[in-house]
């Protein structure tokens, strides 16, 4: 139970154990950007539609704008800052990014697909990526980049459900 001005939470953030006091009105998005300075995660619509704020929670993509920060307690959170730069080559070469507003969310969902390749046994890449709205690329560059990324050598990192 928590009252007053703040709630103390412990979580694993980009591989590090973190203890923090969050405001009751803070979203996970606010905590990441303003509490931790992880400004790679963007706010787009603020209503769970555009996917710009996508982070991985316990290994699965979620909209960080929809999650009260206090719900991140005891969870594993990964942001775009945790994705190794060299992993992004395929997306860069295919023109998966233009203005960049959706890109951190696109990268996080693509990173999740990359780490859980069996997803393509049941889903198309377009269905898996449907939670990111992109108004620049027409999506073809994103899908081509992800296809190339999936064909490249296996990454490190955790699979879905891993912590």
């Amino acid at each position: 139970m928590s009252g007053g001005t703040g709630i103390d939470i412990r979580l694993t953030l980009n591989g590090e154990s973190v203890v923090a006091r969050v405001d009751q009105g803070d979203r996970l998005l606010d905590f990441l950007r303003y509490g931790r300075g992880l400004t790679g995660t963007k706010e787009g619509c603020g209503e769970g539609e555009c996917g710009a704020c996508t982070v991985l929670l316990d290994g699965v993509p979620v909209n960080s704008c929809l999650i009260p920060a206090w719900q991140a307690r005891e969870r594993v959170v990964e942001t775009v800052e945790a994705v190794p730069e060299e992993e992004l080559a395929s997306l860069l070469e295919s023109g998966a990014t233009q203005c960049g507003a959706c890109t951190p969310g696109v990268v996080m969902t693509a990173w999740w697909v990359r780490r859980n390749r069996d997803l393509v046994d049941t889903h198309t890449l377009r269905e898996l990526m449907a939670g990111s709205l992109c108004r620049c690329t027409g999506y073809d560059g994103i899908i081509e980049g992800l296809e190339a990324w999936l064909e490249s050598a296996a990454p490190g990192g955790e699979s879905e459900g891993g912590a």
């Binding site: 139970m1 928590s2 009252g3 709630i7 009751q24 009105g25 979203r27 606010d30 603020g46 209503e47 769970g48 539609e49 996917g51 996508t54 929670l57 699965v60 993509p61 979620v62 909209n63 704008c65 929809l66 999650i67 009260p68 206090w70 719900q71 307690r73 005891e74 969902t109 999740w112 049941t122 269905e127 898996l128 990526m129 449907a130 939670g131 990111s132 709205l133």
Partner: protein, 276 residues
């Protein structure tokens, strides 16, 4: 504003009884929309169910699938047994938002949020799901088709939590789900329908066309009695007895009524010899 964070179901039921005005929250895919504005305008207390492990599991018995109320759409999509045994659950789940929403939105939350547009509810109702409502003292079972009383009104006591959804495992002759939205992902339903048939027993459940998700019992009778239907225009007057669509931000009453008749007609045409 106070946030109550129970660690297990007993503690959750105890907090629910002691703080009946605290709003239960699980995945937050509806309550979290414009969260800062919601918090600023409303000093409500919250009962956070996301840490209650007992609610997060789904279990199979010989007779039924029991979804813990906190089971997410993604949990169901990722269980290959569901596709085989209760395929409409997966079909509906994959039409909710995209993975970011599917991974957070819960079946129980979808039921008690009581939106007329709820995407998970028509398939649950077409499968004759029964809700498990628990308080500290007792457990009550209520058929989902009898749970809603009116717009956002339901048979849920101030000390009760929806803890589980029991779905009978049966063999169906026909199972079908259709959702009409503005696009194929990230859309809220304009009109939707789930249909099951076992021999002459039909379930036809529609959403976004009435104050609650509802069974279309007049249509179910027409199908069971094998009345001839020569086109969507024959179904529309029958449906008028079952549904009462309105104009709102997503669609119009006229569109919803016409499209519901069309999707039911074309969806069932191959299944029903009396549809000509």
């Amino acid at each position: 504003m106070t946030v109550y964070s129970p660690r297990d179901l007993d503690e959750a039921l105890d907090l629910r009884a002691r703080h009946p005005k605290a709003t239960p929250i699980a995945g937050g895919t509806d309550l979290g929309v414009h969260w800062p504005q919601r918090i600023a305008g409303d000093p409500a207390d919250w009962l956070d169910l996301s840490g209650v492990a007992e609610l997060r599991t789904h279990t199979w018995t010989d007779d039924e699938l029991v979804l813990g109320a906190g089971t997410t759409y993604w949990d169901v999509i990722r269980d290959p047994r569901v596709v085989g045994a209760l395929p409409l659950l997966v079909r509906a789940a994959r039409q909710v938002g995209a993975v970011q929403i599917q991974a957070r939105g819960t079946w129980g939350g979808n039921v008690v949020n009581a939106s007329p547009a709820a995407d998970g509810v028509p398939v649950l109702m077409a499968y004759d799901a029964v809700l498990e409502l628990r308080s500290r003292e007792e457990t009550e079972e209520v058929p989902l088709s009898e749970f809603y009383l009116g717009y956002k009104q339901m048979r849920l006591g101030p000390d009760q939590l929806l803890t589980g959804i029991h779905i009978p495992r049966r063999t169906y002759d026909f199972e079908w789900f259709e959702k009409v939205g503005s696009r194929s992902a990230q859309a809220i339903t304009k009109v939707g329908v789930a249909v099951t048939r076992r021999a002459a027993e039909w379930r036809v459940v529609a959403n976004s066309v009435a104050p609650t998700v509802c069974r279309c019992r007049t249509v179910e009778s027409l199908l069971a009695e094998e009345h001839p239907v020569s086109g969507p225009s024959d179904l529309a007057p029958v449906l008028a007895a079952d549904v009462s669509p309105i104009d709102d931000v997503r669609s119009t009453a006229r569109y919803r009524a016409e499209v519901l008749a069309r999707i039911i007609y074309w969806g069932l045409r191959d299944e029903c010899p009396m549809f000509t």
